[in-house]
Symmetry: C2
Subunit: 201 residues, 2 copies
DNA sequence: GTCTATATTGCGATAGAC
DNA sequence: GTCTATCGCAATATAGAC
């Protein structure tokens, strides 16, 4: 069975929007990439922005699913929760390699889809991490005096930045060295080791 | 004395390009924002791309200066060199709040200016950090077995990501909590603590 | 649901007066 | 160095045939 035009449009539009932004791609280009007619975009999505919105929602699908799983889970100890987030980051970027580009594009120049999609999920992730770190400090796992809000950003940064910098990093690092899993593991180890309470103080 | 049109164009174009990208801003918009005529962009910069290139070069100015200073400096011990990078990051983002947006925009969708500007400076920073970490491991300061290339990206990530995420972070964190210096200090402390060799192993 | 043809608007760049 | 006027082109969107 052949894919319908609607689905095909979303699929081929994803890397185009991710690379060039909403303003950087024309409807003609989107239609041609999908092997569809120019009018198809308006017909199926009501215009270019409608297609962009659909692409963005597809990108956040795995995050929505993961957040539901987390909500339905029994509460884990702090370190376990941070570990869960770490594997979630790796998994999501594997499933949706373009996601981070959309997030950053939306962060620096929000489109109409920002409120509807981005602002819906990011705060929930932030809250999950914030709570985990708070409990960890209270339980004595992590350093007292840690600024929790900043520490959340640090974890997100040390894990996610790699996935933005990858195109450039590929040119700077020996090729054999590349493995998302290995990166994420070491980065998380550095972070966790960094916030852990020192035994001898 | 009034600023000349050339300078004024670069100044007003900076936030526009940073927010909306090269394709997202029109020459008419750029000229109007600078209080100049539409033809001025072509006259002074040979077109929209020429202006964009000039903006990008201005953004990288402090980095170029910092790299020269580093090159002319006596070699410092590894931890000092990483500390130097950290204060450099904070300083540059303070001087050029839009820089990171341009870097990321160029990373995901390189324009003609990418080769000329971005590829010129980033590898030199990478090399400086790579060498510092390598020496630190050799000297026994940092954990043996550390993947140096990945560790460079982790440091860049934990420090820089914050400056991208700021617009969103402002909404998630209590307002009083915001200070770039405080963020950078804690993040660097976490990182350094994370890569340090454990005393008791 | 898909096509062609077209209406309309805005784009970047420049010629030529001042 | 700055302006107006305009050329040529590509953009989005849609009306109407199939």
């Amino acid at each position: 069975m052949e894919k319908d035009t609607r689905t095909k449009l979303i699929e081929t539009a994803t890397p185009l929007f991710a690379d060039k932004g909403l303003a950087g791609v024309s409807v003609r280009e989107l239609a041609h990439a999908a092997g569809a007619n120019v009018a198809a975009v308006s017909y199926h999505f009501g215009g270019k922005e409608g297609l962009y919105h659909a692409v963005l929602e597809y990108q956040f699908e795995p995050i929505a699913a993961a957040l539901e799983n987390i909500g339905a889970m029994p509460s884990l100890p702090p370190v376990e929760r941070l570990t869960l987030y770490t594997s979630l980051v790796a998994g999501v970027h594997h499933q949706r390699p373009y996601l981070l580009r959309f997030v950053h594009s939306e962060l620096t120049s929000p489109t109409a889809a920002f409120e509807a999609v981005v602002k819906k999920y990011i705060p929930r992730i932030f809250h999950f991490l914030h709570q985990s770190l708070e409990e960890g400090v209270a339980a004595g796992d992590f350093r007292p005096g840690l600024d929790i809000g900043f520490a959340v950003i640090s974890l997100a940064g040390i894990l996610n930045f790699y996935f933005i910098a990858k195109p450039l990093a590929r040119q700077l690092l020996p090729i054999g060295e590349f493995s998302d899993e290995r990166y994420v593991n070491q980065a998380f180890a550095i972070y966790l080791n960094g916030i852990r309470r020192n035994d001898h103080e």
